[in-house]
């Protein structure tokens, strides 16, 4: 169980920083075509902002914002977006993950359709990475044995 921090400085700084971290993460994901960045990096930054909320404001506040069930749904959704875009290409008569055939759907040239397909895939990857980071952190932090039985066993040894 992660408790709410009692330090006012930590809580205030985290509250100010978290929106900017999330904005920066979205920038990294969306601007991945033109600068270093992409789904993996942006997803990790987005996950870090949620983990910061979790460790400063405690489990109860963070789980009101985004519950554990939602995280589980989100990381399935990320993989589904990726595989769904790939399968959509099959319906348009191309190969799996061949975004060029999506050009009639998006009303752009095949090369630009590939660019947009990459963007969709990156968003899927970003959602998946973000929610998996939060999920792993949450499960490991909450289910540690140091809570009730573990503490006594540790003191004995």
């Amino acid at each position: 169980m992660i408790h709410n921090s009692t330090d006012v400085i930590i809580k205030t700084v985290a509250r100010i920083f978290i929106p900017f971290i999330q904005l920066y993460a979205l920038y990294v994901i969306m601007h991945g075509h033109y600068s270093p960045g992409g789904g993996f990096q942006g997803g990790v930054i987005l996950g870090a902002s949620l983990i910061l909320l979790l460790i400063t404001h405690g489990e109860r506040v963070a789980m009101q914002r985004i519950s554990e069930n939602w995280i589980t749904i989100l990381f399935s959704l990320g993989v589904l977006i990726y595989a769904g875009i790939g399968t959509l290409c099959l319906f348009f008569g191309g190969n799996f993950l061949d975004y060029g055939v999506l050009a009639p759907l998006l009303h752009v040239s095949p090369a630009a359709a590939r660019s947009l397909g990459i963007l969709g895939v990156e968003i899927g990857v970003g959602i998946a990475v973000m929610s998996v980071m939060v999920s792993i952190f949450y499960n490991i932090a909450r289910s540690g044995p140091y809570r009730n039985k573990g503490t006594t066993a540790r003191r004995e040894s």
């Binding site: 033109y34 993996f40 490991i140 540690g144 573990g150």
Partner: protein, 127 residues
Amino acid sequence: MLDFIMAKYNYWIYIILMMIGFYGMIGKNNLVKKIIGMNIFQTAIILFFISIACKKGGATLPIIEYSHGGEHPVVHAADYLNPLPHVLMLTAIVVMVATLGVAIAIVIRLYRDYKTLEEDEILRKIS
């Protein structure tokens, strides 16, 4: 001889790093120390791949200067670093985090069941 050393010393650094990680994996008795060894091992592999991508002689990072609607620039392959190892290691870093998470989850579960993280004590309790 000096040319040979200057041309290969990066590989030797990664091999030393890999040996440290390998020793941690097979020599240490504590499971958390084994996980730390595994991470050092993976870091050595990542550094090795990134050093393969390097090109001497004015090569820059693999982002082409190009704006939408403009003329397609003439690109020479020697001006840009090899992007392929970067891609492979980008995915490998995320897999590294995922394996770390799974390993720590297993260690937590083992600690809960056996109340110890020493490998020989766990083996004694199992038998």
